[in-house]
Subunit: 142 residues, 2 copies
DNA sequence: CTGTATGCAAATCATTTGCAGCTTA
DNA sequence: TAAGCTGCAAATGATTTGCATACAG
C-alpha cells in the first residue's frame, strides 16, 4: 500500500488501441445503463447469463475493468468486501444512493467549494480531491 | 448484495460481553493511534511482528474487526482491493487524507447541512447518511 | 486476414475459520 | 478456574491469468 496515494481516486486512461463493440460489452453496458444502481460482478453475470448462456464471469470482470478505465463505470466496495459497479458519465463522481431501492443519482456539488475554503482556513488542509457518497431516500422511496 | 443497504455505513455494536486487554490488542491500538493513517492488515502485522515474533496475521484481522465494531477504528478499501484501517473516535467519520504523507485528520463538517438542504430542494433527495473522504495536502506537506 | 476478446480452468491473494493450547480477569 | 484469546494451518471466496479458440473490423 502506498501512503502517498492512499486510495486517491485515480483517473487512468489506458492507451486505448481499438475497442471492439462485442456482444458481451454491449450487454454489460446496457444492463448497467438500465439499472443505475451498484451491482456486483457476479450479480451482473447472473443477470446476463440468461440471454448469454456461454458468457464467462471472467469476461464480466474484464469488461468492468475496461469500462472503469474509460470512466463509464464507477465502483465501490460493499461492506461484504465485494466490488460493485454503476454506470456513470466521466464528469461526475458524487453519488446520492437511495437506502431503500439502491438507485444511484449523480449529485451536483457546488457547495463543495465552501468546504474547500473552510478546510483551508480551519485546519490548513488544501483540498485536491474528494470522494463522496450520500445515503438517503430518493423521490420514489420517500 | 443488498440494494436496500448498498454500503450504507452501519454502526453496529456487538453485545460486548467482556473485552480482554491482551498484548496483541494493545499493540494494534497503540500502533494505529501513533500512525494516524490508513494501514492494511498485513502492514500492521509486519510492523508488529518485530516485537511480537509469534503474532499471527489472523489475530490482527480479528483485532481489527473487534475495534471496528467498537468504533475505535474506521476502514476503507484501497484501490488494490485490500482493506486498510485508521484509528479514530466514534464520533467523527469524515477524513481529510494527505495525498503526500497519508496522514488522516478528522474533519468538522457543519457545512454538510447546506448540502442536505440543497439536495432536498434540487432533486428531492432526503439525506440520511454520508460517507466522505477528502484528499489533499496537510499542513506539513504543503 | 489480424488484432482483440472470450471461455474455461487453474492460479492468486486477501480474509476467514476450526481447533487445541494459552491468557486474562 | 472459566471465559476469552491466540497461533497455526487449512478452507473460502472474490478476482485474475494463461492459453487456445472465436470474433470484429
Amino acid at each position: 500500500m502506498e501512503a502517498a496515494e492512499a486510495g486517491c481516486p485515480a483517473r487512468k486512461w489506458s492507451l486505448v488501441k481499438t475497442m471492439y463493440a462485442t456482444t458481451a460489452r454491449r450487454a454489460v453496458v446496457d444492463l448497467l445503463k438500465g439499472e443505475r444502481r451498484y451491482l456486483t460482478a457476479s450479480t451482473i453475470f447472473a443477470l446476463l447469463k440468461r440471454d448469454n448462456p456461454k458468457l464467462a464471469l471472467s469476461t464480466v470482470y474484464r469488461t468492468l475493468e475496461t469500462l472503469t478505465e474509460l470512466g463509464s463505470v464507477s465502483s465501490r466496495t460493499e461492506p461484504s468486501g465485494e466490488a460493485s459497479f454503476v454506470y456513470c458519465n466521466d464528469e461526475h463522481h458524487h453519488h446520492a444512493i437511495c437506502t431503500v431501492c439502491g438507485h444511484v443519482d449523480e449529485v451536483d456539488c457546488a457547495a463543495m467549494e465552501q468546504f474547500r475554503a473552510a478546510l483551508l482556513a480551519n485546519q490548513s488542509f488544501t483540498l485536491d480531491e474528494h470522494s463522496v457518497e450520500f445515503y438517503g431516500r430518493c423521490t420514489r422511496c420517500r
